[in-house]
């Protein structure tokens, strides 16, 4: 029982203190899981983050779920995910429902209109970050060429992004590796 309570509190803290989305909460999870409750070593945690990043989807819930599972099975998994996710979803629903009940006032319309360019700016910053990472991984030319092709497919031909990503994932797995020995660790 107290173990479940510890799992809940650990990930509840991560969920309500982790500003800036899932990736930003990784150090907080480290603090709880490695430093405070000693459920795993720092090395193990590092491996876990690396593994989590090889899979798609939000990282914070993957870590929470796996660690919860390791500590106390399926119940621990559910507990950890709920503790990470639930508090802020409830907050979100309350705040947005309140906002939309005032929607017809002019000043509320002004308030929400001012948000659109702020979000646009944040998306642009994210765009640049993803491009920079792509360039770091593949080099300038491949990134530019790929980006142009992807742009044409997405915006001019209206191909669903899922199809493009699916095709690239298959290509990444099927493509032969360059022969390079001793690339462990």
């Amino acid at each position: 029982m107290s173990k479940q309570w510890n799992i809940f509190i650990a990930f509840f803290r991560v969920g309500i203190l982790g500003y800036g989305g899932g990736p930003a909460s990784i150090p907080l999870i480290h603090k709880e899981v490695v430093d405070k409750y000693r459920w795993m070593s720092s090395d193990e945690f590092g491996d876990l983050v690396a593994l989590g990043n090889t899979l798609p989807g939000p990282i914070a819930t993957k870590l929470a779920g796996y660690i919860g599972y390791r500590v106390s099975g399926v119940l621990g998994l559910l507990n950890a995910v709920i503790a990470t996710v639930l508090p802020t979803i409830v907050l979100m629903i309350i705040l947005l429902s309140t906002l939309s009940s005032f929607k017809d006032f002019d000043w509320v319309k002004g308030m929400t209109a001012a948000i659109v360019p702020v979000v646009g700016m944040m998306l642009l910053v994210l765009t640049i970050q993803f491009l920079q990472k792509a360039i770091k991984g593949m080099g300038w030319m491949p990134t530019i060429m790929m980006s142009i092709v992807i742009f044409i497919l997405l915006s001019l031909l209206n191909v669903h992004p899922g199809i493009i990503i699916g095709a690239l994932l298959i290509f990444a797995l099927v493509k032969k590796d360059k022969v390079k020995e001793g690339s462990s660790s």
Partner: protein
């Protein structure tokens, strides 16, 4: 039917969003705004702004709220489940195998190849947001708020939550 759509709308970002939660934002937008038309750009930007200002993972907050909006508490549950479960289940059951291939170039290529797609999706989404803002509040206000928020968040390093509150206040008085 609705619940199945909610499931699909978040399942796809959940299995294709390589690069953590932020990578799934444009994929969620693609389903929610473009495909199912549950929200317009303005409403989605409110959701995203708030998801960004509140703590915790962003993708699950969006899934929870949009699921709730479309299908009540069950909808919220399905949305969160669809975005969280697939990769979490893989993680729990395939950890041994993943561990073996962690440093394989194939696995590294997965994330690498998806990045430009996410980048372009994000860029297109940013364009739609700016265009929406331009038609709504005009060119001058759009540029002013964009530059102002950029300087405050990226240069002065003020937390986005405060900048969003600031934008709310500014909008309430001046727009």
């Amino acid at each position: 039917m609705k619940y199945w759509e909610i499931f699909l709308a978040f399942f796809i970002p959940g299995i294709l969003g390589y690069g953590g939660g932020p990578a799934s934002i444009p994929l969620v937008e693609n389903e929610v705004v473009k495909r199912y038309e549950w929200m317009d750009v303005q409403e989605f930007s409110e959701v995203l702004a708030l998801a960004n200002s509140l703590p915790g993972p962003i993708a699950t907050k969006m899934a929870g709220f949009i699921g709730y909006n479309e299908g009540g508490i069950l909808g919220a549950f399905i949305g969160v489940f669809a975005i969280v479960a697939p990769s979490l289940i893989l993680m729990v059951f395939l950890l041994g195998i993943l561990y073996k291939y962690k440093d394989s170039p194939k696995v590294k290529r997965l994330t690498m190849y998806v990045r430009p797609v996410i980048a372009i999706l994000l860029g297109l989404m940013a364009y739609r947001f700016f265009f929406e803002s331009y038609t709504g509040i005009g060119l001058f206000q759009t540029i002013f708020i964009t530059l102002g928020s950029y300087l405050l968040i990226e240069r002065v390093k003020i937390h986005p939550a405060f900048v969003i509150i600031g934008a709310f206040v500014y909008g309430g008085f001046f727009l």
